[in-house]
């Protein structure tokens, strides 16, 4: 009994619980931030009734959604219709499990063995994230198909096409960083970015991979179906796209998945390009604060972009993905490979 439930295992269980709760809370926070930022961009005030500055609004929304009726179209495929939102949410949460967000800590000597601040350290972490995000599309596609409604079906089809098109550029931008770091483990990639060049510029990969960072961010927006690439749910043409027929908590699951996916994409961008938990001024054990700040900045950028840029046309999306982003990513990869060999 004691062999199974020792301190390290218990610490890990607590860590998993905390990470899970933080992700759920971050989704709630993102909903609030999105509505607030959007409001100020449109010269409004936004939610300001529930809690301080409307900060409890997401919780009020969740309670409202809980009391709504769960509807299912008669001609829907019952099994897949129920499964789709679950798949979406599970994939979104699972991807975060390999993201490291801080250095090893013993919690001020509370633990015998240092605890790594991440759910699990896999030696192919970058590929695991890539694999799980590519599984996330099934939730959307199945939702679109199983609803048996034309708007949902079109939304699902668009999502599938968009994900296939942008996954290539996404993967190639990851590959360039892998070449630089010489490792597939996110923790090693982050630790490779510690220290400074000439004592001033942090050794972050964004300075070596500016183009790779741009490609990653663009493809990341497309992968999370956010504006200006939010074709799967383009409301003017498709009502609400793949989740048109969903209501109550199953709709909330898609909502949750979208925001958790954004957090994951931002966290991975932070780890791959922005030096993870490394940053000046703060002591080592407060590294996760830097991680949070960086993730938050990227998330704010996402929200800012959504309320600033209009949606592209569908053919523009495809053309941009295949004729510009993919060639740029390939060139970036070749140039990186050549440089890595040249500089040895």
């Amino acid at each position: 009994m004691s062999a199974i439930f020792n301190q390290t295992v218990l610490a890990h269980f607590i860590l998993i619980f905390v990470v899970f709760q933080c992700l759920v809370l971050s989704a709630a926070f993102m909903v609030w931030m999105e509505r607030k930022v959007c409001a100020y961009i449109q010269d409004r005030v936004g939610p300001n009734r529930v809690g301080i500055e409307g900060s409890l609004q997401p919780f009020a929304d969740v309670i409202k959604l809980l009391f709504k009726e769960e509807l299912r179209p008669k001609a829907a495929d019952a099994l897949l219709f129920t499964l789709a939102p679950v798949l979406s949410a599970v994939a979104a949460f699972a991807a975060f499990s390999v993201v490291p967000f801080g250095n090893e800590t013993t919690l001020f000597g509370l633990l015998d063995q240092p605890l790594r601040l991440e759910v699990t350290d896999v030696n192919v972490a970058v590929l695991v994230i890539f694999a799980i995000t590519s599984m996330g599309v099934y939730g959307i596609v199945l939702a679109g198909w199983s609803s048996n409604s034309k708007y949902s079906l079109l939304g699902g089809l668009r999502s599938a096409a968009q994900m296939i098109s942008y996954e290539l550029a996404y993967g190639l931008s990851l590959a360039a960083v892998i070449l630089l770091a010489g490792s597939l483990s996110l923790r090693e990639i982050v630790t490779n970015q510690s220290g400074y060049w000439w004592h001033v510029i942090p050794r972050w990969y964004i300075f070596l991979q500016p183009l790779g960072f741009l490609i990653y961010m663009t493809a990341g927006v497309a992968e999370t179906n956010r504006a200006p690439f939010d074709f799967p749910e383009a409301e003017q043409e498709l009502v609400a796209g793949y989740h048109t027929e969903y209501s109550s908590m199953s709709f909330a699951m898609f909502f949750l998945a979208e925001y958790v996916n954004m957090v994951t994409v931002s966290a991975v961008a932070t780890s791959l390009f922005l030096g993870g938990w490394y940053g000046p001024f703060l002591p080592e054990w407060l590294g996760w604060v830097w991680f949070l700040i960086k993730v938050l900045l990227i998330l704010f950028f996402y929200v800012w972009m959504r309320w600033t840029l209009p949606r592209y046309r569908y053919d523009q999306l495809m053309e941009f993905g295949w004729k510009f982003l993919l060639p740029a990513a390939i060139l970036n990869l070749i140039a990186t490979a050549a440089l890595v060999i040249w500089l040895g």
């Binding site: 890539f130 694999a131 590519s134 099934y138 596609v141 296939i164």
Partner: protein
């Protein structure tokens, strides 16, 4: 523990694969094929080959099956009967059954000749299949020819698909 995991993954893969050919709805078949690929990837993990396991998910479950789904969705076929196409005749079914029995017999014979009784840990092999660098090295040196030929094969298939698609215009 490991053995239990093996039997769970193996049973999942077999049952899912059987249901892929057994179910009438193409959509459900596609989903079960993904489940089967997932179970296979679990088996690779048990063999201490995380890289193979993850690429299995990325390429088969992630990329290829999305295309499958895409096609099934475009056809909007809810059961196999919607797909149209000719029904398989009685004699053709007989020949198919005969061939599959032959294949099963052949495989049983081959496995018996190999004398494989169980799968134990392979101390030399496990390190080589889990290291990405070694896989890459082997692909581009010892197996370079096979690797390049495969890519040309895929290119040919792609060009063929484009030609067939363009002919209708």
């Amino acid at each position: 523990m490991e053995q239990a995991a093996f039997y769970i993954f193996a049973a999942l893969a077999v049952v899912a694969s059987l249901l892929v050919i057994g179910l009438r709805s193409p959509m459900h078949s596609v989903i079960l094929l993904i489940v089967s690929f997932g179970a296979l990837s679990g088996l690779y993990l048990l063999l201490d080959a995380p890289f193979t396991a993850v690429t299995q998910i990325i390429i088969y479950a992630g990329a290829i099956m999305v295309l499958f789904l895409f096609v099934v969705m475009l056809l909007n076929a809810h059961t196999e009967d919607d797909m149209g196409g000719p029904r398989i005749s009685g004699p053709a079914m007989g020949v198919g059954a005969l061939l599959s029995v032959l294949l099963a017999a052949e495989m049983l014979w081959a496995l018996q000749r190999l004398g494989v009784t169980g799968f134990g840990p392979d101390p030399g092999g496990s390190a080589s299949i889990s290291s990405v660098a070694r896989i890459g090295g082997a692909l581009f040196t010892t197996h370079a020819f096979a690797f390049e030929v495969t890519s040309i094969l895929i290119l040919v298939a792609m060009v063929g698909a484009v030609v067939i698609a363009r002919r209708e215009h």
